[in-house]
Assembly symmetry: none
Homo-oligomer: 209 residues x 2
């Protein structure tokens, strides 16, 4: 019925439970804790399941040790999928094909901060100037931009203007889009066709000293 290394439904439940604890950074359970969780009245039931998982190669039992169950497969590192984003200097045009040329380093960002942008081409920039204070983005902040989305009205975008990367808000007009600075000291810019938008800002990171 159940082929050599395939798991029975119950065994799948057991290994799921073990993996869930591991994911949460907790210790391996005792056999009695497994039994309690599933409602078994004897620790032997839990031990039998784990022994079966060991025979099938999913788990290792460290003999005699308390909480001695070790997961062999699907050992997810506790880092919950942290994303490493290249920090770029001034990008001359488009998305840099060779990141290394303009890369200053990398920034690790939690996927929770990046939302649906995971899997897209992302890059980070250090903010110069106070042109976006109106949107809560200040000098010295890092912004993470997504190069793989179409900017919508209201988005904060990284735009290339006069060979420099600038942050602006994309605003709509009947004749097209224009770029708006979110600070009174900065003038709005209305490029027509040569408007080069390199990414849409998806995250802001600030260090407070």
């Amino acid at each position: 019925m159940f082929s050599a290394n395939s798991l029975t439904p119950r065994q799948t439940e057991i290994i799921d439970f073990l993996q869930e604890l591991r994911r949460k950074g907790k210790n391996s359970p005792t056999y009695r804790e497994i039994a309690d969780h599933f409602g078994f009245k004897s620790p032997k039931a839990a031990a039998d399941h784990v022994r079966a998982l060991e025979k099938k190669g999913y788990v290792r039992r460290r003999k005699g040790r308390s909480r001695g169950i070790e997961l062999l497969f699907s050992e997810r590192p506790s880092t919950n999928g942290a994303i490493s984003v290249p920090v770029l200097g001034n990008i001359p045009a488009g998305y840099p094909e060779t990141q290394t040329e303009y890369q200053h380093g990398t920034l690790t960002v939690d996927p929770a901060i990046l939302g649906g942008s995971t899997g897209h081409r992302l890059f980070a920039l250090r903010v110069n100037g106070e042109s976006m204070t109106g949107r809560g983005i200040h000098e010295g902040d890092w912004v993470v931009a997504d190069a793989d989305v179409s900017p919508k009205e209201g988005d904060v975008v990284v735009a290339l203007i006069d060979g420099e990367n600038t942050l602006k808000t994309l605003a709509g007009q009947k004749n097209g889009y224009f770029l708006k600075a979110e600070s009174p000291n900065y003038s709005d810019l209305i490029p027509t066709d040569e408007m080069d938008i390199q990414g849409v800002v998806r995250a802001v990171l600030r260090r407070i000293y």
Copy 2:
């Protein structure tokens, strides 16, 4: 007023050992395993150290449970030097004794964003309300706070007011400190002695949709 909680060299070695195991995804050690690692001839030596770490708020001992040492404020550096910070809900008083009780998840943060706070006890909170817009902190932002520094004048601090965590700016007065809201709609608060400051904000993370 603001607790120091500094560790002795030996205690630092012990907590480093505990964090190293946690980082490797292993179970917490037994007191005899700690003793073996450091060459102690009695488990009591290890237990005493862990008890001291508990008193200083770095660790929690689950009574009677094998491998019952739990790291609080577990800051787990990952491969590329990313730091995993626990995201907490409303912390009722002082430092949360049990990380798990109030923990909503973890947030991975780059050490470049955290500056000199690496190695300290850190926690993250989601921002409610617009009381700190004057400092560029908005509703929905995550803030990362350091529980191991003495707040200075001008610092944005996490304070416990009426059982809720609030962000305020610490301002100085000749008679002492008071807490200042950075938004016209919010009133300043001037608690005297019962002022409970749980951390100093060191980073702001914002997701832009």
